[in-house]
């Protein structure tokens, strides 16, 4: 087998295009994760409600969306949503919304688990000093749930980073799509796709390391004897 001659200068040559692709990926990420958190914050309390007419639809949404593969969700949203709703969104926004939905239902379940894991005695302590429900949420259950869900929350964010490449299937100009386009044009798939893989390692690894340390600190400081 002939030795392959790597030619990484191709990355520099198309730096502007690739840089824009990276930016698009980060924009998709930022938007879909923020919207996902928002969706989670809305769905989680509904899912926990003791009123059936609130709980049932929230549960249905979560269970349905959760069982659809994210790629199917993106493609479905791209082709079917405009037909069903008459609303035509760009591929970019379709991708953002589909990924936000997908991430959101997982966030909802994570938030719910976090809130339910807070020792009820701590809530009663809040009640006994006269805190109204909103104060109990913002001062006690909210912060404690947040500390508890840090690990699953991070995993879900990492999944969101990975899922952002699904936009390439509906021609959203994020890293994978642009790299693939470029590799067919330049016949340099090895360099370009390796760069894509390394880009994800470089994005996710710091995230894992930072939250790992944070998690340890939190445990050390508040919970571990």
């Amino acid at each position: 087998m002939q030795a392959y001659e790597w030619e990484f200068s191709i990355l520099w040559q198309y730096r502007e295009l690739l840089f824009n692709a990276v930016l698009t990926t980060f924009r998709i990420l930022g938007l879909s994760v923020s919207l996902g958190i928002l969706a989670g914050l809305i769905l989680a309390p509904l899912r926990m409600s003791d009123k059936l007419f609130l709980r049932a639809p929230a549960t249905a949404i979560i269970e349905v969306v959760r069982s659809i593969p994210p790629l199917v969700l993106v493609v479905w949203a791209y082709y079917c949503l405009p037909i069903l709703t008459g609303l035509t969104l760009s591929a970019y926004w379709t991708c953002v919304i589909a990924l936000a939905m997908y991430t959101g239902v997982f966030f909802a379940e994570i938030f719910r688990a976090g809130l339910q894991a807070v020792d009820h005695g701590l809530v009663e302590a809040g009640r006994s000093v006269g805190m109204p429900p909103w104060k109990i949420f913002t001062r006690i259950t909210g912060p404690l749930a947040f500390l508890r869900i840090l690990p699953p929350f991070t995993s879900q964010c990492i999944m969101a980073v990975k899922n952002s490449v699904l936009g390439s299937y509906i021609a959203v100009g994020e890293v994978l799509y642009e790299a693939q386009r470029l590799s067919t044009a330049t016949f340099r798939p090895l360099e370009l796709l390796t760069a894509v893989a390394l880009f994800f390692v470089a994005t996710i690894l710091p995230l894992t390391l930072v939250t790992g340390t944070l998690e340890k600190k939190v445990l050390q400081r508040y919970f571990r004897r």
């Binding site: 020792d119 005695g121 701590l122 009663e124 302590a125 809040g126 009640r127 006994s128 000093v129 006269g130 805190m131 109204p132 429900p133 104060k135 001062r139 006690i140 912060p143 404690l144 500390l147 400081r221 508040y222 919970f223 571990r224 004897r225």
Partner: protein, 271 residues
């Protein structure tokens, strides 16, 4: 304990409190009252309903029937026709009814000082400086001033319980409710908590204490109420109830209770 407020009527009144869990009637119509600066002990075996009774006083459990009045105002209900107060209205009343829990329930994400100042700052809306000064004073009183900036997880059970007493005091409540405050403690830590409570009792705090500590009840309480199967089996001064039980039933129950007192070695039996 003589007080100048004794003729102003009782501070806390419970009237005909009933409570059932599923089909089990835990409280079968309990009435009693607490005057200002009085210390009332609720005694009884596990399952006699004493903790439920205490939790009905600040509506952590809503009684099925009966009334609770604090300084003449009904707790948990209002309006005409009478209906349950909403969460906000109830929260407002709970400011004056502090509670100390069996398992301390200190907020783990706040320092000792923040645990004490949380209520006054967040609920009473007092200034941070003022609350911190008062909190330091209270922590000094329970002997934990030097732990002000530690997180609860670094403290022993006895220390945590003393902080939780300081947290209760910081609200300047009209009444402090104690729910078996020493039952979750290792035996060697019980004394430091009872010491603080005895000090409070002697300085004129109004307290309702659910306890298994007979010696504490004898020393601190003006009145003890002995509960059995959701009813009051005996009431009176500690001496009356503990030394000269009025009925055979009460005596049997009481001796039994003493025999099963956590002091005698089964402190952890129920945990």
């Amino acid at each position: 304990m003589a007080t100048d407020l004794s003729d102003a009527g009782p501070l806390l009144v419970a009237e005909g409190l009933r409570k059932s869990f599923r089909n089990q009637e835990v409280l079968k119509g309990i009435s009693f009252s607490v005057r200002s600066s009085q210390v009332v002990g609720l005694l009884g075996r596990s399952g006699s309903g004493k903790s439920t009774l205490l939790r009905c006083l600040n509506m952590l459990e809503r009684p099925d029937a009966g009334h609770v009045y604090l300084a003449g105002e009904e707790v948990g209900y209002g309006g005409t026709p009478r209906r349950p107060l909403n969460a906000r209205g109830l929260a407002y009343q709970r400011r004056s009814l502090a509670m100390v829990f069996q398992h301390f329930n200190l907020w783990p994400h706040r320092t000792v000082l923040e645990n004490v100042t949380e209520g006054p700052i967040q609920v009473l809306g007092l200034s941070r400086d003022e609350c911190e000064a008062h909190a330091i004073e209270l922590l000094d009183r329970v002997g934990l001033k030097e732990k002000a900036h530690a997180y609860p997880v670094r403290l022993s059970g006895g220390q945590q319980q003393r902080v939780s007493i300081a947290r209760a005091l910081a609200m300047r409540p009209k009444v402090i409710l104690f729910d078996e405050p020493t039952s979750a403690l290792d035996p060697e830590l019980v004394g430091e908590v009872l010491g603080v409570m005895l000090d409070l009792a002697r300085s004129g705090s109004t307290m309702v204490v659910v306890t298994h500590e007979m010696e504490f009840a004898r020393q601190a309480c003006d009145e003890v109420i002995l509960l059995a199967d959701g009813e009051i089996a005996a009431r009176g001064t500690p001496a009356e109830v503990m030394d000269r039980p009025a009925s055979d039933h009460a005596r049997r129950l009481f001796e039994n209770h003493l025999a099963h007192s956590p002091r005698r070695g089964d402190r952890h039996a129920g945990l």
